[in-house]
C-alpha cells in the first residue's frame, strides 16, 4: 500500500488497545517501530511500496502488552490515540506512543493479511 502524504488512503484497519506495562518509572508497550517520514523508506522490510514512509511495527516482544493485544510484526500503524501516524517522523511516532501520562494506547493498524481477508470475504459474497 503506497501512501503519499496528503492523498486519501483506503485501508482495512484494525483497532488495537494496548495497556502499558509499568516497570518502575517506565511504561512498556513491548514492541518496536520503524519508519517515519525522516527515514529511508527503501530500507523497510515490511512495506509493499518502498516509498511508504509510514510507521511499521518491526518487532514484538514475546508476552508483552503489544503481543497480548494482538499487534503483529509488520503492522502499519495508522493512528495512535487518534493522532495520525502516516506523516510523522520516527521520533514523533515514538513520543506519541510513550507518553508517560497515558496508560492506554489505542492504535489503528493495517496489515496485508487483513486486506486479503477482506478481499476474500467480499469475493465469497
Amino acid at each position: 500500500m503506497s501512501f503519499i502524504p496528503g492523498h486519501p488512503v483506503t485501508a482495512v484497519v484494525q483497532r488495537i488497545e494496548i495497556h502499558k506495562l509499568r516497570d518502575g518509572d517506565n511504561l512498556i508497550l513491548g514492541f518496536s517501530i520503524g519508519g517515519g517520514i525522516d527515514q529511508d523508506p527503501s530500507q523497510n522490510p515490511f512495506s509493499e511500496d518502498k516509498t511508504d514512509k509510514g510507521i511499521y511495527v518491526t518487532r514484538v516482544s514475546k508476552g508483552g502488552p503489544a503481543e497480548v493485544a494482538g499487534l503483529r510484526m509488520g503492522d502499519k500503524i495508522m493512528q495512535v490515540n487518534g493522532w495520525d501516524m502516516t506523516m510523522v517522523t520516527h521520533d514523533q511516532a515514538r513520543k506519541k506512543l510513550t507518553k508517560k501520562n497515558e496508560d492506554v494506547v489505542r492504535l489503528l493498524v493495517t496489515r496485508k493479511s487483513l486486506e486479503n481477508a477482506v478481499r476474500q470475504s467480499m469475493m465469497q459474497h
Partner: protein
Amino acid sequence: MEEYDVPSAASILASVKEQEARFERLTRALEEERRNVSLQLERGSLPSDRLVGGTTGGSNQPLAWQQMVMQEQSPSNQTSLAMMQEPQEVVEETVTIEEDPGTPTSHVSVVTSDDGTTRRTETKDNVTNMKVTKMVKTVTTRTVRQVPLGPDGLPLPEGSSPLGSYTDSIDRRYMKNGERFITPQATSTLTRSYNNYSDSYNDAPDSQFRHYTLHDGYGDMADNYGSLSRGVNYRPYRPYMPTGGYRPENSYTLPIRKDDYGHVAQPQVPMGSSTMDLNRSQPERFQPEPYGLEDDRRSLGPDDEEPYDLEPDYSTANRRTLPGRTIREPLRNGPRMRGYEDPIETELIDERHPYIHGMYPAPLAQPERGSLASLDRMGGRRSPSIDSIRKDPRWRDPDLPEVIAMLGHPIDPVKSNAAAYLQHLCYENDKIKKDVRQLKGIPVLVGLLDHPKAEVHRKACGALRNISYGKDHDNKVAIKSCDGIPALIRLLRKTNDMEVRELITGTLWNLSSYEPLKMVIINHGLQTMTNEVIIPHSGWEHEPNEDSKPRDAEWTTVFKNTSGCLRNVSSDGAEARRRLRECEGLVDALLHALQSAVGKKDMDNKSVENCVCVMRNLSYHVHKEIPGAEKFQDPSALQGPGSAGTQRKKKDDAGCFGGKKAKEEWFNQGRKNGEHDKNYDTLDLPKRTEPTKGFELLYQPEVVRLYLSLLTESQNFNTLEAAAGALQNLSAGQWTWSNYIRATVRKEKGLPILVELLRSDSDKVVRAVAIALRNLSIDRRNKDLIGSYAMRDLVSNLPSGQQRPAKNLEEDTVVAILNTIHEIIIESSENARSLITAQAIDKLVAINRTSQSARETKAASHVLQTVWSYKELRNALTKDGWNKTHFQPIPTGTPKGSRSCKPGYDDTTLPLMEKNQGNRGCSGGDMIPMGELGPDGYSTIDQRDKESKYKSSDGSSDLQEREPLKNDTNRKHYIRSNRPTVSLVDACDVKPQPVDSWV
C-alpha cells in the same frame, strides 16, 4: 460714443473691404469647383437668409460693400470652407466687431439679423462709428476675446482667414443644427449662445483683423505682447491694422490653416475641427475616437503605472494605439508644451474665473491674453519651417477658460472637441486638472455625459477619466459633488459602446480609490455595474441553459475596470461588504469568473487579481456579518483552543480513513483531553435544500479548492496574497463553517501548498500565508501537520539577529511568523520540539535580545517563554547550551512560559496582534484561537489598495518570484509528495534518527 472718429473708421473699413473683395475673387476662381458641391448642400439650409439679412443690416455705407463682398466672397469662401454667406457677414461685421468690445450693440444687431435685417441697421450704424474709436481704446478688453469666442473654434478664426474660414465654419454649424438653433433662439440658453455666437461671429472679423495686424507687423514682438497687458500693447499696433494686416490674412489664412492643422497644432486640431468641422478636416484628421482614446490611453497609461488603477490598461492600450498613431504623436507635444504653467497665465486664468461662469460672454472677454501668450509660445517652439509659414501667430491654442467655455457651445462637435482637448491637456498634468476644477469645468463635463450624441459623451467621459486620476482627491470630489457618479452610471446603463463603457468604468475605478466616495459608488452603481458588466463578462448565467456549455469569463477592459472598482469599494467596511454580498449575482459571477480562470489556467491577469481581492474582502468577518451567522456559532468556541481540534473531526469524515468518525470517537476515549468530543456529534453541515447561491458561496468548503488552485498556479503576487488572505479570513473565527474550511484545506492538500508559499520572495505573500497557517492551526490536526512540515520554512523566514536573511522581510511579516509559530507550539510539545530541531532558538534569542523592533522582540519572547514552559524539553535545551535566562523576556522576566502566558495573553498578546495587524483594526487576539484573525486579511487588503494606489509595483520581487515557479509542471509533485520529505530529510541530517526503536 466718439462720433468724430466715425468718418475715419468708415473710410478705413471701406478700403479694407475693397481689398478683401479683390482677394477673394482670386481665390474664388481657384476653388470654385469645390465650392459648388459643398455650397449647394449647405445653402439648402437657413443660414443664407439670416446672413443676407445680417449683411444688409450692416451699416449703410458698408452695405454696398458688404453686399458686394458677400457675393464675391461666397464663392471664395466656398473654396476654403464652403460657406459663402457668412464670409460676407463676417466682413461687415468685422467692422461691427470692434464695436462689440465697446458695447452690447453688436449683440443686438446679431439677434436681429436672425429675425430680420431691420434692427441691425440701426445698431450697426452706431457700431460702425464706434468701431474706429473703440478699436484703439477698447481693444484691450474685448476685441480679442470676441474673436475666439465667436467661432467657438476660438483660436482658429484668428489664424485662419478671418472672414472666410471662420464664417464658414459657423455657418455650417448653423446649418447642421440650423433648425435647432434658429428656433431655439426663443429659448434662453440657445438664444443666448446664439447671440453670443453671432456677436462673436460678427465681431470676429474685426478682432481677427486687429490681431493680424498686430502680429504681422510685430511678429517678433509678440512675446512682449503676451507678457504685457493687452490694452497697452494694443494701441501701438493698431495703426498697422487697417492696411497691412488684413489682406495678408486672407491670403495666407486659408492655406496656413490647413497646413497647421495637419501638422503642428494638435491641440488646435480639436479646436479647429470644431470650428471648421467643415468637410474635410473633420473626417480625416479629427476622427474623434482615435483622438480621444489615444489621449486617454496615453494619458492614463503613464498614470497607471503608479497607481493601481489603470496599470494594465496602460500597457495594452498603449500598444494598440501607438502604432497607428505615430503621425499624430508629434502633434500632441505641441499642446502640452503650451504650458499653463507660466505664472502669468495662471494668474490670468484665475482672473477669468468669474467670467467663465457667465458662459459665453465670459469666454469672450478673456481669450485675449491667453491666446496671445499661447501664441507666443507656440511660435517659439515650432520648427523653423512652420515658423516661416506662420510668422504671424494667428494660430494659437485656446487657453483653458476658452476650452471650458467651448464645452457649452451649442454645436456638438465643438463640445466634443473641447472635451477631447481637455482630456489631452489633463493627461499627466495635475496642474491643469486643478485648473479645470477651479474653472468649474467638471460640472460641465459631467453634464455632457447625458448628451445624446455618442461623440460628445464619449469625449466628456474621457476627460473625466483623466481628471479623476491622481492623488488630488479634490478632483474626484468635484466629480462626485456635481452628481457625476450617478451620471456615469446612467450612461453605463444606456450605452452599448464598448469604448464608452471602458471610459466610464475606468473613471469609476479612479473615483473608487478615494475613501469617501466608495459608499456613493455603491449606492448608485453597485447593481448596475454588476448587471451590466460583471455578470455578462463573467460568463455566469443566472439560469444556466442546459444545452449550452458554461461560458468562460472574458477578461475585457471593462470587466477589469469594474472589478477594480468593486475591489476598492469592497474595502469600505462592514456596510460596504454587506451591500456587496447581498448584491444579486455578484458573488456568483465573481466565483464563476475565477473558476473559469482556473479552468483555463489563465489567472495572472489583473481581472483575476481584482476578483480574488473582492472575494477576500467579502470573506472578511463572514462569521459575524452574515445574516443568521449566530446559528452557526460554535458553542465549543468558548472552550478555547483545545476544542478546535475535536470539532474539526466531524468534518474529517472524508479524510484519510473511511468511517473515521467512529474510530475517532473510539480513540478519543483514550485521550485524556478528549473532553470536548461530545460536542462534535451535534455539529453537522447545514442541510441544503436548494443550491447555494449568493453570499453563501463565499464560505462553502468548495471555495477552498478554488483558492488552492490559485495558490498553486498563479504567479501574481497580489493574487497569491489575496487567495491566502481569503483562506485566512474563512478559517478565522469559531463557527461551523470555519471548522469545515479548516478541515477542507487539509483534505484538499492545501497545507503543503501554503507551506510552499512560505518560500515566496514576496513579503506580503509570506505574511498572508503565515497568518493563514495560524488560523488553520486552530484545527488540532492541522496544528500537528503544520508543526511537522512548516516549521523549517517558518523559521527560515526569521531574521538571525540583526542580520536579515536574504529576503529581508518587513517587521509585520516577521511578527506574523512569530505569532504563527507561537500558535503552533501552544499545547503541543511536539511542535515545540520541532521548533528546537529547526534550530530556531538561536534566532529567537537573537531577536529577543537584539531586534530593534519592539514588536518583534515581544513576539519572540512569547515564543521562547512557551518553549521553556515544556519541562520535557528543558533537558535538550540545556544540552544545547541554553539556560533559563535566554527564555526570559529581556526587560522584565517572567521565565515560566506557560504561567506567564496567561498574563501575557492579556497585555502582551493582544497588543502584539494588533500591532501585527499594522493597526488596521484587527479585532481579536492573535494567539488565541478564538480571536479574530480575519481582520488581517481584510485590513491587509485595504491597506494594500491604499498603498498600491501610488506605489509602483515592485518589479524586482516579481521577477524573483517567477523564476522558482517556472517549473510549473514539477511543482505540484514537488509540493505534494516530495516537499515534506525534503524538509524532513533535512531534519534527519541534523539529528540522525534510530531506524528502529523500542517503545
